[in-house]
Structure formats: C-alpha cells, structure tokens
C-alpha cells in the first residue's frame, strides 16, 4: 500500500493532530488504523491517548510537549514502519432494526420526498455492508460509511429534543444509531433493540473502527423478544469474521 502525504500539526500544549487527505475512503481508514496500531504499541497506554476519525488521528501525551519537532519526527518514523503491522480481524455485525411505523417517525416523510415506497427505503437501507470509520461524538456512536446515494437526505431543519435510545437515523450522507436518548437532527427510520454502549464492561462497545455493520429488518414481535433478551443479558449480536 502506498503511503499518504500526511500533515502534522501541534494542537494545544500536549497534542499533535495528524491529517490524511480530506475524504471518506476505505484506504485511508486502513492506513489510519495501521498507524494507530503502531503508535499504540510504541507508547505506554497510560502516557499517550490516541483517537481517530475519518481522516485524522489525535495523539495526546500526558506531558507538555517541549519540542514539537522531536515528537513529530518520532511519529513520522512510526508511520514509515507501519507496513509490517497487521490489523485485528474485521467483524461483520448483524444489527437487528425494526422499521415498523411504531419507530419510523420520519419514514413517511422521506418516502414522499424521495418518491420511493417505504419497502424500497427499508431495502436500500438494509442491503449495504457499512463500514465503521470511528466511534465519536457521544459514547458508542458509530460513524458509518456506505449509505446508498438514493437515501441521502439533509438533516431535519429543527432537531428533535429527544430521540430514543436505539433510534436509527439518516442525516445527510450518513446513517447511524443513537446509542442513548439525546437530542438529534437526523431523520428517524427505525429502532434497534440492542445496546451499543455498556459502561459496566471493560470494553464498552462491541464494534470498533474498521468493523462492518449490516442492518437486518425485524418485525415488532421479534423486536420485543430481542429487547427482553438484551435486558436479561442473553442476547448475543450475530457476527462473522471478515478477512482483510
């Protein structure tokens, strides 16, 4: 894989921001994850915090940076060695989503706007294999890439003060699941009964950057069954390991 032309910027007194070209791209994601993995292995987890997004990584040290150039040189060196670094297995997670009218508050509106039937919208939304680019914004909020262009819908002009935990929405070219009740500006087209964030677990999210997601339509009855299983701690999200 070819190397990208990266920019390194000091950000505050303790952080460096590394940026890739500004686009949503699977090759950039893979490169970011390899680099992140390399940096992770090189530093003590207590000393350095790393978080990634679509085209950037933020590295925060537990000390004030004295000489930015020294730290940047180290990072550049680490980037040059990342090739040997293999990535953890990619998982494909099957996420049950109920698109029933009980949850799909904005499905009708999108259907009218797009001139597509509700069934067609559900089909278009549950067909693709989405990529998890990163988890950000709120605990457990997955940034997904891969929404069918026909479903791209500008955000609601007035955000809802409250969307429910598990609501599945479309906002611009993005789609995602609200991990908890919060305000939200995306069009709600369904709800997933599973939990995307559990603070009682050491690793609070089952999904990670680089994984894949597919939405599986379920009816109301199945929704309630899974909801009960999730509450009892008996539900296991269906998944398979993908190569590469």
């Amino acid at each position: 894989m070819t190397d990208f032309n990266l920019t390194y910027k000091p950000y505050g007194e303790r952080s460096i921001l590394v940026e890739w070209p500004s686009k949503i791209d699977e090759n950039i994601l893979t490169d970011i994850l390899k680099f992140k993995n390399t940096v992770d292995k090189n530093y003590d987890k207590q000393k350095v915090q790393i978080k990634s997004a679509y085209n950037s990584i933020l590295i925060t040290y537990d000390f004030s940076i004295e000489n930015v150039n020294t730290e940047i040189s180290t990072l550049k060196y680490l980037y040059s060695t990342k090739i040997q670094n293999t990535l953890p297995e990619r998982q494909l997670w099957k996420i049950p989503v109920c698109y029933d009218n009980a949850f799909a508050l904005d499905l009708e509106e999108i259907s009218m706007q797009k001139g597509l039937s509700k069934t067609e919208i559900i089909k278009l939304h549950s067909k693709p294999i989405y990529t998890v680019y990163f988890i950000g914004f709120l605990p457990g909020f997955l940034y997904l890439g891969g929404l069918d262009e026909r479903l791209i819908t500008p955000r609601k002009s007035t955000p809802r003060l409250q969307v429910r935990k598990g609501d599945v929405g479309i906002g611009g070219s993005q789609t995602g699941i609200y991990p908890n009740q919060s305000p939200g500006g995306w069009h709600v087209i369904g709800n997933s009964p599973i939990s995307f964030f559990d603070a009682s677990k050491e690793i609070p999210c089952f999904a990670k950057a680089g994984d894949n997601i597919q939405f599986v339509p379920i009816d109301l009855e199945t929704f309630h069954r899974i909801e009960v299983e999730v509450k009892a701690g008996d539900y296991k999200v269906e998944s398979e390991v993908l190569n590469g």
């Binding site: 000091p10 950000y11 505050g12 679509y54 933020l58 990163f134 950000g136 908890n180 603070a199």
Partner: protein, 281 residues
Amino acid sequence: MVRVIKPGFYSTIQDLGRLGHQDYGVPISGAMDRYSSRFANALLNNKPEDAVLEITMTGPTLEFFTATYICITGADMSPKLNEASIRMNTVFGVKPNDLLVFGRSKTGFRTYLGVSGGFQTDIRLNSRSMFKSITDSVKIEANQMLPIHSSKIEFTQTNSTLKFKTEIFNTNRLQVFKGPEYNLLNPIQQERLFEPFTVSGSNNRMGYQLEEQVKNELPSILTSPVMPGTVQLTPSGNLIVLMRDGQTTGGYPRVLQLKETAINSLAQAYKGKLLQFELIN
C-alpha cells in the same frame, strides 16, 4: 457517608477524568477547574486524582455521618459548618452529625469540596466522574448517600490558610494556541478573535458559547477529533469553547485551543463576564 440534604443547582462527583476510552466516544470529563480541585486534594494530603464534589453556582446542604477532614476551594459560596462561617482553602475536621451548608457564589462559578481520601462513589471506566450513560447518577440528588472513608480527627482546624491564586477568577485573559483550522480564517476574522467576548447564558460542563459572533463562511470540516478547550466556529458564526464533558469529535472548524490553565479560568466564568483571548507564540 455523607448524606445529601439539598443537592444545590448542579453538583457532581469529579476526579481528573476518564482516560483511555475516547475511542469509544467517551468524553474525558473530570473537574472543570483542575487548579481548584487539585488544591483541595493537596491541602488534604490526598492524591491529585482523588474525587471531589464539584458545586456549580449554588451550593448543597450536606450532613456528615462519618468523621473526616474537609477542605473547600474554588468559588466562595460562604460555607457554614454547623451555622458558623468557615474559611476557604483551610482544612477542618468534621464529626458525625455535622452540617455543611453553602450559599450563593460571590466570586467564581464552581466550588470544590474535598474530603480525606476522596469520595468513594463507583468507578466506571477508570473514573468516578459523573456522566450520563456511564455512571448511575448524573448529579447528586437529595437523600443520596455519598461514601467516604472515616478519619480519626485530631484537630478541628488548621491554623494556616494556604494562598490560593485568585488570578484564576480575576483574569479576563485566556491564553490560547492557534487551532488546526486557524489559518483558514481571513485576517479580519483572525483579528476579531482577539477582541473581547462575553460569556453567554448557554454554558455548562460540555461547553461555553460566547455572545458575539464572528462572520463565517468557512464550510464544515470532515468530522475530526476535538478536546476540552477547543474553540469551534459554527456556520452561523457562534464560538463554542468545548469543556471537560465535551464531545470527542466534531465537524466545525477548530480555530483556537485554550491552554490548560485557561480552561480552569473559563470554568470559573459565568454569564456576562468579558473575556479576551491572548495568543501564545
């Protein structure tokens, strides 16, 4: 144990925050004004990361069930122990049945109450800092019991009051670095950033919005990491300074970044306060 009789406007348990989970979208959290929280812990011989009670704007009423030492730092909310006024930045011994009452803040916005060994509320993801969807309580509530260690009390009050740097409240200058998108601003916008701003009423542990606007035509950026102290410029021209509970990533241009000490100062500022950013070279 400490029983909460009245919770005050917004009081939360805070330590130095939650590290190592930002990649799951978990904010760092922790005490808004870390100078004051560390000061309380230092006077009590605690560890800097021991959990304190962060009190915002108006204070709680607390009843002690356990003997301990306490120390109050940050904004002066006229604390009274069993109806007698007590000094800030001083260690006091308290006994079971003692009653601690706070009033309204006179200087600053946030007060810190430290106890020997720190508050012992549940640790979630390496921290006791209260946060929605992570800890069971988001803020303290009436009748809640806050666990603490018991101490053998050998004195009721230290004689000396340590000098607390009051600049943190008095200053209206916030030291900043250029943010990643600073250079995308035109010279007029850049100049405007260093003229005075007023703190708006829209401020909380997640962020502080400023009153005045900066005319902005910059497009949003591809969502990228942000951190406490990041100053974002929204499409409508508002400046939002992210604070300790701020989101982990954002899509608005990041025009400035507050120095750590400036975050502490801003945490003590309230609606109507005039502020000015000062660039560090």
